[in-house]
Symmetry: C2
Subunit: 157 residues, 2 copies
């Protein structure tokens, strides 16, 4: 199973880039993982928010295949414990999912169209995290879920 995390905009700040790189490296031991940063839409400050999200969606769609299982990270999505999230990942692997795609929106979130048409929605928390930090937080959880599936020491319950 190939896993992709699609994000909007360059990662800001060298410490965040380093943190993301660390979990990206750790993930390579468990799965084929790709971290995608779609460049910010030009003149985004002058575009109405809904139009901006649509333009971002057009870019996101370039990374989706017909057989992609697309999951939006959205605060209205389902919340999982880390254990349940690892079970979720396992089920996707066992059921033969080839492309598991997670999408993090830009600063204003994901377009309504994608939210209504994706395969699933998950929330990392009731709290709103910055769309920048979500990258790091999500990748740590994805890494954690693989260590849980492999019964490794990283996760303490």
């Amino acid at each position: 199973m190939k896993v992709k995390l699609i994000t909007i905009g360059k990662t800001n700040g060298d410490w965040l880039i380093k943190g993301i790189k660390e979990y990206q490296n750790r993930l390579t031991h468990y799965t084929s993982f790709e971290f995608i940063e779609i460049p910010d839409i030009k003149n985004k400050g002058n575009i109405p928010i809904e139009k901006l999200k649509e333009a971002e969606l057009t870019e996101i769609e370039k990374y989706l295949d017909k057989d992609s299982f697309v999951i939006c990270l959205d605060e209205n999505g389902k919340e999982y414990s880390s254990e349940d999230f690892s079970t979720f990942i396992e089920k996707k692997m066992v059921s033969g999912t080839k492309h598991l795609i997670f999408v993090v929106g830009g600063a204003f979130g994901i377009s309504d169209y994608l939210l209504n048409h994706c395969n699933d929605k998950i929330a990392l928390s009731l709290m709103t995290f910055s769309h920048q930090m979500v990258r790091l937080i999500f990748m740590e959880q994805l890494y954690r879920s693989f260590t849980i599936l492999k019964n490794e020491k990283y996760h303490h319950k």
Copy 2:
């Protein structure tokens, strides 16, 4: 109101130290904030987990005053949205709380004694975050809560 975040063990990794520093700096514009790292207990690998947590509690107690309002970050605590967390912080300020103390445990969490005797428990998520990354995630939320209270642009809903 003075806010403290008490954590166990040195922060690992220069990127995480930098990220924490960034939010620590941002917080100084809004409140008196202190980030406390209690050094790891010596030989912690050879101490039974419950004994280790008790030894950590002894160190934590050195930073608590009688008038401290102590909140444990614990996965069984109450979850808040970012807006509700900012309201929670505001209520603490308005009610004249002098020392608002947040405690993050070590790798194995917080001692049962403190969990049972603290003033409140909050959870950042149903997911388990590393006790290292919780520092960063919490400080971003605390910063976010002050920007919400000040009606600043950082938080988009």
